[in-house]
C-alpha cells in the first residue's frame, strides 16, 4: 500500500483534506458440530477523500487505486463539500492542525500459514472437544482474523501508515437439560496476526476445559431473582460498562447530540474510587488491545482521562468537536472501511484498578451476584444501559453459590458508578471488543472487577 505514493497528490488537497488508502482483509473459518460450515476470505480496499469547507464536509471513495481514480475521488469529495457549503454557509473556521508522521506495522515476521494449516488448527480443537466432551448437544469453533491496513495523507501535513491485525478463536457449547438447550461460549486471542497469537492448539485446552465446567454449572443453574442487587461485575462487564454506558455518552458528537454528559463536566459523576480512561496505545505499562498512535484525521492519539476519581474531566474528540469545545483533539477519529468517513470512536476504554482483592469483594456480599461474561450491551444517551450476561453465579453469605441462567443487567451508569464501593486490584482486557456506531469498529475494553448495586433481570 505504501507504494501508492500518496504524497504526490498533496498539491491537489485544497483546504483541509484527508486522503486515505485502506484495506480490510479477513479470514473466517467455522466448524459446527464437526462440519466445516464456513471457509471464507474477503478483501475490501479502496481510496477515499474527505474535504472540509467552512464547516461542511464532502466525502467520496472508490475501490480503484489507479491515478485517475484517486484524482476523481478528490474531485468528487471537493464537489460534495462545495455543494454543501454553498447551501449551508456555516462559515466555520479552519480545523486545528498538529501534523505527525508515523508508521506502525503489527504484521508478523513469521512465515504465513496456509488456509489448510488454519483449517487443520481449528479442526484439531474441534476434535479435542468432540473426543473429550461427548455429552455436548452441539459445539462450534470459529476462527476470525482481521487485518486493517491504512495509509493516510492530510493536507495539514500528517502522514501515517498502520497495519492492525487481530486474531480470535471462538468456542461455543450447548447442552440440554429437560429438553432445553443451554449454551455458553468464550473467545480466545488478541491483537496480532494468527502466527503471533496462536502456537499449539493445546494451549487453548485449559480455557476450553474451564468453559465446559462453567457450562456444567450453568446447566444446573437457576434464574436470577429480579431487582436491584449488590453485584460484582468482573473485568469484561466492567469494561463493557466503561465503553457502552460511559464512553459513548462522552463522545463529543453525542454530547452535542443530547447526551446527558453535556451537563456533567467537572462534576462528581461516580464514586471517588472510579477513574476511567480511553487509552490510546499503552495502559499501565502494557500495549493495549487496539494500539492507536495516529487517528484517521492525522491527529496523534492521546489518552483521554474521562473520569478522574469520580469527576468527569474530558470528552472524546475529533478535530471538529475539539474546535467547538476549544480543546485539543484526542485522536479518536476512526473509520471502519475505505468507504467510511472517520467518526469519533473509542480506542481502549477501561476503569483503572483499585486496591481490593476479588475474594474480599465476594466475601463482603450477603445476597447478590458475581457476573462474569457479557454477551451484548447497549447504552442510552441518558447513560441508561443494559448488558446481556451469559455467565454468573449467586453470592450467598459471602460465598459463591449456584450458576445463573442468561440474564440482563441494567441501570443508569452515572447512578450505578456512584454506588461502587470496592474495586479489584487486577485488570484485564476483553480480547474481542467490537463497537457499532453507524460503522463497526474493533475496540479494547477492560478493567478490574467492581462492586456496585445494579438492576438484574430474571424470573
Amino acid at each position: 500500500m505504501q507504494q501508492l505514493g500518496l504524497e504526490k497528490y498533496a498539491p491537489l488537497l485544497a483546504g483541509y483534506t484527508e486522503l486515505r488508502a485502506h484495506k480490510n482483509h479477513s479470514v473466517t473459518i467455522g466448524f459446527l458440530k464437526g462440519n466445516n460450515v464456513r471457509n471464507v476470505k474477503s478483501t475490501t480496499s479502496g481510496i477515499s477523500a474527505r474535504v472540509y469547507q467552512h464547516g461542511s464536509w464532502g466525502f467520496a471513495s472508490s475501490p480503484d487505486f489507479t491515478d485517475n481514480s484517486i484524482r476523481q475521488v478528490i474531485k468528487a469529495a471537493s464537489a460534495n463539500a462545495a455543494f454543501l457549503d454553498s447551501k449551508q454557509n456555516k462559515g466555520k473556521p479552519a480545523l486545528p492542525a498538529k501534523p505527525i508522521k508515523a508508521e506502525h506495522d503489527y504484521s508478523t515476521n513469521k512465515p504465513r500459514l496456509t488456509q489448510k494449516q488454519l483449517i487443520d488448527f481449528v479442526k484439531q480443537i474441534d476434535h479435542y472437544i468432540a473426543g473429550k466432551y461427548p455429552d455436548l448437544t452441539s459445539r462450534s469453533v470459529g476462527l476470525n482474523c482481521l487485518d486493517m491496513e491504512k495509509l493516510l495523507l492530510t493536507s495539514d501535513g500528517s502522514y501515517s501508515y498502520s497495519l492492525h491485525p487481530r486474531s480470535l478463536i471462538s468456542v461455543g457449547f450447548t447442552m440440554e437439560k429437560d429438553g432445553n438447550p443451554i449454551e455458553l461460549y468464550d473467545i480466545f486471542g488478541r491483537q496480532g496476526q494468527f502466527e503471533d497469537v496462536f502456537g499449539d492448539p493445546a494451549e487453548l485446552y485449559p480455557g476450553i476445559d474451564q468453559l465446559y465446567e462453567q457450562l456444567r454449572h450453568k446447566v444446573e443453574g437457576v434464574y436470577a431473582e429480579p431487582g436491584v442487587k449488590d453485584c460484582i461485575l468482573d473485568a469484561d462487564l466492567g469494561g463493557i460498562l466503561a465503553h457502552e454506558a460511559i464512553g459513548h455518552t462522552t463522545e463529543a458528537d453525542l454530547v452535542l447530540g443530547g447526551s446527558i454528559a453535556a451537563k456533567y463536566m467537572n462534576k462528581q459523576v461516580a464514586s471517588p474510587l472510579i477513574s476511567l480512561v480511553d487509552f490510546a496505545h499503552h495502559a499501565l505499562g502494557k500495549t493495549c488491545p487496539i494500539p492507536l498512535y495516529v487517528d484517521d484525521e492525522g491527529t496523534e492519539a492521546q489518552d483521554a482521562v474521562i473520569i478522574d476519581q469520580g469527576i468527569l474531566k474530558s470528552y472524546l474528540h475529533n478535530k471538529e468537536s475539539a474546535l467547538h469545545f476549544r480543546v485539543e483533539p484526542t485522536g479518536n477519529a476512526r473509520a471502519w472501511a475505505f468507504s467510511d468517513e472517520p467518526l469519533i470512536r473509542m480506542r481502549n476504554t477501561a476503569i483503572l484498578p483499585g486496591k481490593d482483592s476479588l475474594d474480599d469483594m465476594i466475601a463482603s456480599i450477603d445476597d447478590g451476584y458475581y457476573l462474569i461474561r457479557p454477551s451484548n450491551g447497549q447504552a442510552d444517551t441518558t447513560s441508561e444501559f443494559m448488558f446481556g450476561v451469559v455467565l454468573g453465579y449467586e453470592i450467598k453469605n459471602g460465598k459463591l453459590g449456584r450458576a445463573i441462567f442468561d440474564t440482563t443487567i441494567s441501570g443508569v451508569a452515572f447512578d450505578v458508578l456512584q454506588t461502587v464501593s470496592m474495586v479489584s486490584n487486577e485488570m484485564s482486557w476483553s480480547v474481542s471488543g467490537m463497537c457499532g456506531k453507524k460503522q463497526p469498529m474493533p475496540v479494547g475494553m477492560g478493567g478490574p472487577a467492581i462492586k456496585c448495586r445494579v438492576n438484574i433481570g430474571g424470573r
Binding site: 462450534s140 450447548t174 429480579p226 441518558t382 440474564t407 433481570g457
Partner: protein
C-alpha cells in the same frame, strides 16, 4: 464487460478442476447525506464493486470476496478461491443451485434525485424544529443506493438484478432543560420522494413520543403482565425468534426448539407471518437468494402453524429437510381485527414496549432486557412513560400467548408490522 468477467471466471475455475462454481459481480453507487445535531454536515459519494467466488471440488468448498475487477485481481481471486476450497473439509452437502432459466429483474430509480433529496432533508429538519422543538436530532442518514448484480454458476444460471432505493434513518431524543428522554431511532426504505420524510414509517409517531418521554416514572416491584410490542420492536422480536429456531445454524446444530415442529401449531391461530422479498408491497426486497435461486414469497407461520424453515441449500442437504424459497426477512405480518386503542382498552396491567434493549435470547427462547421508550398501561389506558423497567419471558411461549393483533400496521419498506399484545411477561421496576 461484466458478463465477460463472469464467464472468464467460471471457465477458469472449471479448467482448474473445480467440480462446481458460482460467481457474482456487483457494482454499486451510494449517495448519502448526513445530519448531525440537526444540521446537514456531510455529503458522501461511494462507488464500490464486489466479486464473490464460490467453488467446490471433491465435496470441499470455499469462498472469496474482493471488491476490485481488474485482470490481476480476478486471476488472484480465482487462485485464492481454489486454494481455499481445496483446503476445506469434504462435505457432500456443499452444492450450487441447479439450472434455472436466465432472468433479469429491475426495480426502483437508477439514479438519485439529489436536489429532491436535499430539499426533503431540509424540509424534515425544519418540520422537526417547528413541530417538535424539544427534539434533538442526534443524527440522520438519507441515502440512495443503486446496485447492479450479475449472478451465474457452472450449472448455467444467469441472473441480472438492478435496484435503486432511498433509505432514511434517524436517532433522536427529547429535551427540556436538564431533563431528557432516552434516545429512539427508526428508519425505512422508499423508491419515491413524493411525500415528506416525516410521513413514512413510524417516524412522526416516535418523534412525538420522545417529547412525551422527557418525563418518565419508574415502576416498583415486579408483576406478570401484558405487553404490547410496537411495530418497530416487533421486527426485532421476530428476527430473534426466527434466528434461534428456523435458520441453518439452529437446525444443523439441533438446538432449535422448532426442529420437530414443522406443520405443527407453534403460535396463536391468529398469527400469520409471510416473508415476501418479491412482493410489490415490499420496496426493499431481493430477487435472488444467497445460494443462487430466484427468490419467491412464502408464508412462515400460517394461522399459528409453522409452514417452513429458512434453510439454505447447504442447510437443507445437511438436515435432509426442504430448502426455503427465500432467505427470510421482508416480513409481512397479517393485521388483526381490533384497533390499537381497543387492544389497549383490554389491558388491565402491562406496558407498551416501543424499543427493546436486551441480551440476545437464549436458544430456548428465554430473554430479558430493558423496555425502552415504553409506556405503563393500567385499567385499559396508557398511563405514563416509564424508565428503568425490565421485561423477561420466553419468546417461544409468547407466540402462543397472543392477546390481540392490531388492524393498524406500519410499512417500513422492508417489512410491514402491526402492534401485537402478549400475556405472561414478567415486568420489573426498581
Amino acid at each position: 464487460m461484466e458478463r465477460d468477467i463472469i464467464n472468464y471466471t467460471l471457465e477458469k475455475l472449471k479448467a482448474n478442476g473445480m467440480d462446481h462454481a458460482s460467481c457474482s459481480l456487483e457494482q454499486s453507487t451510494k449517495y448519502e447525506m448526513n445530519v448531525e445535531t440537526g444540521k446537514i454536515t456531510l455529503i458522501r459519494t461511494v462507488f464500490n464493486n464486489g466479486l464473490s467466488l464460490y467453488a467446490i471440488k471433491d465435496n470441499k468448498s470455499g469462498s472469496y470476496n474482493v471488491n476490485k475487477l481488474d485482470q490481476e485481481t480476478i486471476d488472484q481471486a480465482i487462485a485464492t478461491v481454489i486454494e481455499i476450497a481445496e483446503s476445506s473439509e469434504p462435505d457432500p452437502a456443499h452444492a450450487i443451485a441447479e439450472y434455472q432459466p436466465p432472468a433479469e429483474f429491475r426495480t426502483g430509480p437508477n439514479k438519485p434525485n439529489q436536489e429532491s433529496m436535499y430539499n426533503r432533508l431540509e424540509e424534515f429538519l425544519e418540520q422537526v424544529k417547528n413541530k417538535y422543538p424539544k427534539i434533538m436530532l442526534d443524527n440522520a442518514y438519507f441515502d440512495f443506493t443503486h446496485r447492479v448484480r450479475y449472478i451465474a454458476n457452472s450449472n448455467g444460471t444467469d441472473f441480472t438484478t438492478e435496484k435503486g432505493i432511498y433509505r432514511f434513518s434517524s436517532m433522536f431524543s427529547g429535551h427540556d432543560g436538564e431533563r431528557s428522554s432516552s434516545f429512539n431511532y427508526t428508519g425505512y426504505a422508499t423508491q419515491e420522494l413524493d411525500r415528506e420524510l416525516l410521513a413514512y414509517g413510524s417516524l412522526d409517531t416516535l418523534l412525538q413520543q420522545s417529547c412525551e418521554q422527557i418525563t418518565t416514572q419508574t415502576l416498583s416491584g415486579k408483576f406478570v403482565g401484558d405487553v404490547i410490542i410496537t411495530p418497530d420492536c416487533l421486527s426485532d422480536f421476530l428476527s430473534y425468534v426466527f434466528g434461534i429456531t428456523i435458520y441453518d445454524g439452529a437446525l444443523i446444530s439441533g438446538t432449535s426448539v422448532y426442529k420437530d415442529k414443522l406443520g405443527q401449531q407453534v403460535a396463536d391461530p391468529r398469527l400469520v407471518i409471510h416473508s415476501r422479498p418479491v412482493s410489490p408491497e415490499i420496496v426493499d426486497g431481493y430477487f435472488i437468494t444467497g445460494d443462487g435461486y430466484q427468490a419467491e414469497n412464502c408464508t412462515i407461520i400460517d394461522h399459528g402453524i409453522l409452514k417452513t424453515f429458512l434453510l439454505t441449500l447447504y442447510g437443507a442437504n445437511k438436515t435432509g429437510l426442504k430448502r426455503a424459497v427465500n432467505n427470510g426477512g421482508c416480513y409481512v405480518v397479517e393485521p388483526g381485527e381490533k384497533s390499537l386503542d381497543e387492544i389497549v382498552s383490554q389491558i388491565d396491567r402491562g406496558i407498551m414496549v416501543a424499543r427493546y434493549s436486551g441480551g440476545y435470547p437464549s436458544q430456548n427462547g428465554d430473554f430479558s432486557g430493558v423496555a425502552k421508550n415504553s409506556y405503563y398501561i393500567e385499567n385499559g389506558k396508557i398511563q405514563y412513560p416509564i424508565s428503568e423497567t425490565m421485561i423477561s419471558g420466553n419468546l417461544i411461549n409468547m407466540l402462543k400467548n397472543i392477546i390481540d393483533i392490531s388492524r393498524e400496521r406500519v410499512d417500513f419498506g422492508s417489512g410491514i408490522y402491526p402492534w401485537i399484545a402478549f400475556s405472561g411477561v414478567t415486568i420489573s421496576g426498581r
